[in-house]
C-alpha cells in the first residue's frame, strides 16, 4: 500500500513538469490559436540554458533559472515577432509547419552549440536530501517541484482572474476583434502571451536539470505527452490541462511500476479511451 | 398545405447564455417565410438547430412528420433539407461547375466512385450545367469559384443550396454585402426557384425591403422566442414588434 502511495507521489512530481509545459501550450493556443509544435524545443532550450548557467558556469541555482527563463523568453519573442506573426490568418496548417521547422532548427542548433548528452549537475545543497514519506525516502527536490507546480497553478489562476493583464489576455482570447475595437494592442498581447508560454516551458526544463538528463531528445518526448494531456483535458482549457497532467503523471508512474515495458504505450491507451468516450476532452466547455 | 418542419419546445443554451428559449414553430410547404429579429434573437441558432449543426438541449424537430432532432446534417440533407450560409461558404478552389456538381453527385450516391473520371459522370454533369444556367453562371463554368465577384459567389451559394433538390431550404441573409443590383438579381432568383422548383424557402433577413418584397409569411423572433407571426401587414401593425424594433420608422 505504501509503495503505491509513494509511487503516486513520484507521479505527482512528474506531473508538475508536464503541467508546466502543458500550461504554456494551452495558454498559447487559447490566445493565439496556434498549436506550438516547437514548445518541447523551448523546454529543451530552457534546460540547456539553465544547465550552462548552473552546471557549467556555477551560478546560483535561482539565478540560473531566471536567466534561462529570460533567454528562452527572448527566443520565443524572436519566433513570434519575426516569423509567426507573418502568417497569422492563413491556413493553420502552415503555422504548424512553421513551428515544425523550428523544431528541426532548434534540435540541431542545440547539438551544434552544446554537443551531445550531458552529466547531471548536483542538486543545490539546500534542496538536497530526502525525508521519509510513506515509510520511504522522498527526495526534497521532488517536494520542491511539487511546490513550484502548485504555486504556478495558483499563480496562473490569480493572474487570469484578478489582474488587469490577465483579463486583457482573456478578452483577447475570446474575441480578438472586439478586444482590438476597445483599444487592446492585440499584436503586443500575442507577443506577450507567447513569451509567457515560452517561459513556462523553460521553467519546466530548467527545473529538471538536477534530476533529469539534459539531452537533445527531451523536448520531443515532452511535447508528445503535452499533446496527449491537452487532448485529454480539452484544448485551451487550463484547468483541464492541470488535472490531465496529474492524471497522466500519476498513471505514468504506476505504468512504470507495473508495466515497465509498455510505459509510453500505456498513456496512449488512456488517451485513446478518453477519445472514444468523450472526444472533446474531459473538461471541454 | 402539408407541414414540412415542426419545432416544439426547443431550448438551447451556450454556457450562461440562452440562445433559444422555448420555440414553437410550424413551417408549411409552399409558403415563403422570413424570420426577422434583432441581433442575438436566435435566428441563426434556430437554423443551426433545424439543419443539424447544433443539437438542442430539449425539444423536438420534425421534418415531414419524422423526428430529426438528433439526425446528422448530411442525413437531413438526404431527407430534403438544405441551407445557404451568411458568411460565404463555397468551395473556393473547385471550379464553379464542380461546386454544384458535388451536391448532385451526393444525391445520386456517386461520391464514392474512386476511379472513373469525373467528366464521365454525364448525367450529373448535365444536371450541374442546368443549375448553372438557372443561376446565370454558366459562362464561368470552369473558373475557380474563389475568383468570382462577391455577387456571383452569392448566386453560387444559392445554386449549391438548391442543387440537392431540397423541399425546405434555409437562406441565411442571402442579400448581405450585395450592391442593390446584385440584391435584385438574388431576390429574383429566389422567387423563380421557389416557383419553378417548388422549394419552400425560409429566409433570415435584416433588410426589411427584402423581407416585405419576398415573404408570404413573417416570423419575428426576439430573445430566443417567437414574438409574433403573420402576414406582412399583420406584422407591420403588431405593437410588440414595433417596440422591439425601436421605432416605427423601420417598419413604415
Amino acid at each position: 500500500m505504501d509503495t503505491i502511495a509513494f509511487q503516486g507521489l513520484i507521479g505527482l512530481s512528474l506531473a508538475m513538469y508536464l503541467w508546466l509545459i502543458s500550461a504554456g501550450l494551452t495558454i498559447i493556443f487559447g490566445v493565439l490559436r496556434i498549436v506550438n509544435f516547437a514548445h518541447g524545443s523551448l523546454f529543451m532550450v530552457g534546460a540547456y540554458l539553465a544547465f550552462t548557467f548552473y552546471g557549467q558556469l556555477g551560478l546560483p541555482f535561482w539565478l540560473a533559472i531566471l536567466l534561462s527563463l529570460l533567454g528562452t523568453g527572448l527566443l520565443g519573442l524572436v519566433m513570434e515577432r519575426g516569423f509567426l506573426r507573418r502568417i497569422y490568418g492563413i491556413d493553420e496548417a502552415y503555422q504548424l509547419l512553421l513551428t515544425f521547422g523550428f523544431i528541426l532548427i532548434l534540435d540541431d542548433a542545440v547539438k551544434i552549440i552544446w554537443g551531445g548528452v550531458f552529466r547531471i549537475p548536483p542538486i543545490p545543497a539546500f534542496l538536497d536530501g530526502a525525508w521519509p514519506v510513506f515509510g520511504r525516502p522522498f527526495p526534497v527536490y521532488n517536494t520542491f517541484i511539487l511546490g513550484v507546480g502548485l504555486a504556478v497553478a495558483v499563480g496562473l489562476w490569480a493572474l487570469f482572474e484578478k489582474t488587469w493583464w490577465g483579463r486583457t489576455v482573456r478578452a483577447t482570447a475570446s474575441d480578438r476583434e472586439m478586444a482590438n475595437a476597445i483599444g487592446v494592442n492585440v499584436p503586443r498581447v500575442f507577443s506577450g502571451v507567447f513569451v509567457f508560454g515560452s517561459m513556462l516551458a523553460a521553467l519546466g526544463g530548467a527545473l529538471g536539470i538536477p534530476v533529469r538528463v539534459v539531452a537533445p531528445g527531451i523536448g520531443a518526448t515532452m511535447i508528445i505527452q503535452a499533446f496527449i494531456i491537452t487532448v485529454i483535458g480539452g484544448l485551451g482549457n487550463l484547468k483541464g490541462a492541470f488535472v490531465s497532467s496529474l492524471i497522466v503523471g500519476i498513471l505514468s508512474a504506476y505504468g512504470t511500476l507495473f508495466f515497465p515495458v509498455f510505459e509510453l504505450f500505456f498513456i496512449f491507451v488512456i488517451m485513446a479511451v478518453v477519445l472514444l468516450v468523450r472526444p472533446q476532452g474531459l473538461f471541454a466547455r | 398545405m402539408s407541414d414540412l418542419l415542426t419545432v416544439s419546445g426547443l431550448r438551447k443554451r451556450f454556457g450562461e447564455f440562452t440562445a433559444i428559449n422555448g420555440v414553437e414553430l410550424t413551417l408549411p410547404a409552399g409558403r415563403l417565410t422570413a424570420i426577422i429579429g434583432p441581433n442575438g434573437a436566435g435566428k441563426t441558432t434556430l437554423i443551426n438547430l433545424a439543419t443539424g449543426a447544433l443539437t438542442p438541449d430539449t425539444g423536438t424537430i420534425r421534418f415531414k412528420g419524422e423526428a430529426i432532432t438528433h439526425l446528422a446534417t448530411h442525413d437531413r440533407v438526404r431527407k430534403g433539407l438544405s441551407r445557404s450560409f451568411q458568411i460565404m461558404n463555397i468551395f473556393t478552389r473547385l471550379t464553379v461547375l464542380e461546386n454544384v456538381l458535388l451536391p448532385v453527385l451526393a444525391r445520386r450516391g456517386r461520391t464514392r466512385v474512386p476511379f472513373s473520371r469525373l467528366e464521365g459522370e454525364g448525367e450529373a454533369v448535365a444536371e450541374g450545367e442546368r443549375i448553372l444556367r438557372e443561376i446565370g453562371l454558366q459562362e464561368h463554368r470552369d473558373a475557380p469559384a474563389g475568383a468570382l465577384s462577391h455577387g456571383d459567389q452569392r448566386l453560387l451559394e444559392l445554386g449549391i443550396a438548391v442543387a440537392p433538390e431540397p423541399e425546405l431550404c434555409f437562406l441565411d441573409e442571402p442579400s448581405s454585402g450585395l450592391t442593390p443590383v446584385e440584391r435584385a438579381t438574388v431576390l429574383e432568383l429566389v422567387r423563380r426557384l421557389a416557383r419553378e422548383r417548388q422549394t419552400t424557402f425560409v429566409i433570415v433577413e435584416h433588410d426589411m425591403d427584402v423581407v416585405f418584397s419576398l415573404a408570404d409569411w413573417i416570423v419575428v423572433m426576439n430573445r430566443g422566442q417567437v414574438l409574433a407571426e403573420g402576414t406582412a401587414s399583420q406584422i407591420r401593425e403588431n405593437r410588440q414588434v414595433r417596440e422591439v424594433y425601436l421605432g416605427e420608422e423601420v417598419l413604415a
Binding site: V35, F83, I87, A93, Y94, L97, L98, F100, G101, F102, L104, I105, D107, D108, A109, K111, A220, I224, F227, I228, T230, V231, L235, V261, E263, L264, F265, F268, M271, A272, L275, P279 | T51, A72, T73, H74, D75, V77, R78, S82, N89, F91, T92, R93, L94, L102, A106, R110, T111, R112, V113, P114, F115, S116, R117, L118, H140, A143, A147, S149
Partner: protein, 319 residues
C-alpha cells in the same frame, strides 16, 4: 493534360526504365529511395493537399508496412506476400487509428496523428521480442517475387529489385492519379475547401475523412514495404516523427496543390539532402530553415513558382 507535358512524362518514364544501363549502383539506389518517398508523399498529400488534413504520424504506417513486410520475408521468402502483408497491415492500422482520429477537429487531428505515430515508434522500440527493439529487424532478404502460376522472379540483383520498385511505384502513382480525378477525389477536395458546406451538400464528411486517411496509410505501407528488402534492415526510427516529416517536406517543396508536386518534391528532397550531407552532419537545421523559408514565402512549393503564373491567369480571366 497538355500534350507537351504528356510527352515529357513519357520520356521520363522511358529514362527510368533504362536507368540500370545508364547509371551505376548509387544513382539506382537513390532513384529507388526517391520512388519510395514519392509513393509515401502522394499518400500524405491525398490527406493534406486534397482533403485538408495534416497528419504528422504517417511514418507510423510506413513503419508498419516495413516491419510487416520484413517479418513475413524473414519467415516466408516471397516478396509478393511480403509486400501484400505489409500493405494490409498498414491499411488496417490506418483504419483503426483513423476511426479514433477523424472525428475530431483539424487541430486535434494534427496532435493526435503525431502522438499515434510516436506510439508506434515506442512499440517498435520496446517490443523486443517482435520488432527486435532498437536493433530492429536485420537480414531481411530480397526474396524472389513469386505469384504461383504467374511469376517466379529471382531478385538477387539490385537492378531487378529496381524494376519491382519502379513498377509498383508507377502503378501506385497511376492509381492515385485516377483517384484524385474521380468523383471521390472531388468529394475529398470539397471537404478540404469547406467541411460544413460538404455536409450540407449531403456528404458524410467523417466517413470520407476516414477513407482518405486509410488510403494514405495504405500508400505509406506500400512505401515501407518496398523499403524493407532494399535496406535489409528496419529500425524504429522509421516510425519517428522525423520520418513523418519527410513526406511533409517533399510535398511542401514540390507543391501540395498539384498532383505531381510530391513527386517533384521527393526528388528535390534527396538532391538537397545529398548536397547538404556532404558538407555537414547537421542537415536538419538546414532542412528546418528550408521549411521556414517555404512556409513564409513559397507555400505553393516549386509548382507554384513554375505554374503560378498559369494559375493566376486563369483566375484573372474571370473578372
Amino acid at each position: 493534360m497538355p500534350r507537351r507535358l504528356a510527352a515529357l512524362l513519357m520520356v521520363l518514364v522511358l529514362v527510368l526504365f533504362a536507368l540500370p544501363w545508364l547509371a551505376g549502383r548509387y544513382p539506382l539506389y537513390l532513384a529507388m529511395r526517391i520512388l519510395i518517398l514519392s509513393v509515401f508523399s502522394l499518400g500524405f498529400n491525398l490527406l493534406f493537399g486534397y482533403t485538408g488534413l495534416l497528419s504528422f504520424g504517417q511514418a507510423g504506417f510506413y513503419a508498419v508496412g516495413a516491419y510487416g513486410c520484413a517479418k513475413i520475408l524473414l519467415a516466408v521468402p516471397n516478396l509478393f506476400l511480403g509486400l501484400l502483408g505489409g500493405v494490409l497491415a498498414a491499411g488496417i492500422a490506418a483504419l483503426l487509428l483513423g476511426i479514433l482520429s477523424v472525428r475530431h477537429t483539424r487541430i486535434y487531428i494534427k496532435m493526435l496523428t503525431l502522438a499515434f505515430g510516436m506510439m508506434i515508434f515506442s512499440i517498435a522500440l520496446k517490443w523486443r521480442d517482435f520488432t527486435g527493439g532498437d536493433d530492429g529487424l536485420v537480414g531481411i532478404p530480397r526474396a524472389p517475387l513469386e505469384i504461383p502460376g504467374l511469376v517466379s522472379l529471382s531478385l538477387a540483383t539490385m537492378e531487378r529489385y529496381y524494376y519491382v520498385v519502379l513498377v509498383v511505384a508507377l502503378l501506385a502513382i497511376g492509381a492515385m492519379y485516377r483517384l484524385v480525378r474521380s468523383p471521390l477525389g472531388l468529394t475529398l477536395q470539397a471537404i478540404r475547401d469547406s467541411e460544413s458546406r460538404a455536409e450540407f451538400a449531403g456528404v458524410p464528411v467523417q466517413r470520407y475523412r476516414l477513407v482518405s486517411f486509410t488510403i494514405a496509410g495504405l500508400y505509406a505501407g506500400v512505401a515501407g514495404a518496398l523499403l524493407a528488402p532494399l535496406e535489409a534492415t528496419i529500425t524504429p526510427p522509421e516510425a519517428h516523427w522525423s520520418t513523418s516529416a519527410e513526406p511533409v517536406l517533399a510535398t511542401l517543396l514540390g507543391g501540395a496543390h498539384i498532383f505531381g508536386g510530391p513527386i517533384v518534391g521527393a526528388f528535390l528532397f534527396f538532391m538537397i539532402k545529398d548536397v547538404i550531407v556532404r558538407f555537414t552532419q547537421y542537415w536538419l537545421i538546414w532542412l528546418g530553415a528550408i521549411v521556414v523559408a517555404l512556409v513564409l514565402g513559397f507555400r505553393g512549393g516549386v509548382a507554384s513558382i513554375l505554374f503560378g503564373r498559369l494559375l493566376a491567369r486563369r483566375a484573372a480571366r474571370v473578372r
